[in-house]
Symmetry: C2
Subunit: 201 residues, 2 copies
Amino acid sequence: MADPRKRYHHGDLRAALLASAESKLSREGAHTLSLRELAREVGVSHGAPREHFQNKQALLDALAEAGFDRLGQELEATMAGDEGSFTERLTVFAQTYVRFASRQPALLELMFASLHRPGADPSLREANDRAFAAPIALIASARANGEIVDDDPDRVAMAVLATLQGLAWLANSGIVGDRPIDTVVAVTIEMLTRGLKPTPS
Amino acid sequence: MADPRKRYHHGDLRAALLASAESKLSREGAHTLSLRELAREVGVSHGAPREHFQNKQALLDALAEAGFDRLGQELEATMAGDEGSFTERLTVFAQTYVRFASRQPALLELMFASLHRPGADPSLREANDRAFAAPIALIASARANGEIVDDDPDRVAMAVLATLQGLAWLANSGIVGDRPIDTVVAVTIEMLTRGLKPTPS
DNA sequence: TCTAGAATCTTGTCAATGTCTGGATCGAGG
DNA sequence: CCTCGATCCAGACATTGACAAGATTCTAGA
């Protein structure tokens, strides 16, 4: 009974399955993930996972939600405090996000796939909102301060979001090559904010 | 024998499979695509597709390559000619691309999934290069003319590419809401190029 | 402490799928 | 006409996700 894999009751099968799934997810794609294989690796029968995840999709959703939680934690950690200009803080946000994206490409893909799937679990959208609370607050305050053009309320956020998502995609596409990704991110954000600033004219 | 589905030799099974696959792809995701189901729909036995596609992945690759070809054609069509400023022409490019992306989200996803898969068919990368020949030429000429900052050769292209990909993602994520996507694209590109122009000091 | 009842896990089963194999059928060139 | 390659069929196999019924363990209440 020292080895939980031998006991009839695993003890923490749900967490073990998620851990094993995430490990495999980071090594291979999401489509190679098999419930039965996960069960084997954890040392449990093929029917056991059903007690914790009704579906395969339910497991993937749980994986995605955990991903949003961790992303949110990292964003909160690096964006804590008020120091720095808007551009600097936005760069920190972008770099944190892109680092997360390039560290766990498959997870990020799974996260948004689950999020955008029709009929997705509402808790996923909530997790997404929680994760991006800090950067959204940053943009809102910058708009309030007049640091960026006061256009359509969401237009700026959307442009930033689009650029950011594009950078994350770029980091995973191999196009960046051997360039330091942080530099690419910083340059792009700098260019973007230059366009966001009110024209001095 | 009037009905090709009744003849022993289908006549154009490869094309029929691709057409059926693309139809299903646009209606549902890529993960619900089944070789056997495609074979049934075309009226052929489950082993027949193997004569034209060694793998399921091979079929998906062919689908992706066809997607790149069509995207390239659309880009070439809308970007033909030399009229307009750099910003205008870039906007046309972005709008064409994003329209394609929102018209066929699943296809675009499949295209890049196939492209970035390790050990992908080199012909896919070639198809990708062909598709983006026009916009790449546009950026190159703009750089040569001094219309945009002459920084790291590829840095500008990467920033544009990232933003564009982000816009495409945005269009498919439902975040845009009921805003006209073309307007969002135009505004973002305008903001970006404002940051790309040489600073008037 | 004893004992229902819930929670958890096992085993068996089913339909569906991707892939492989051997054989049948068709079509074009000699 | 006949052969040979291209094309398609029919059968088989392992794997997978899902479901159901039963075994085992845990827990809460008497």
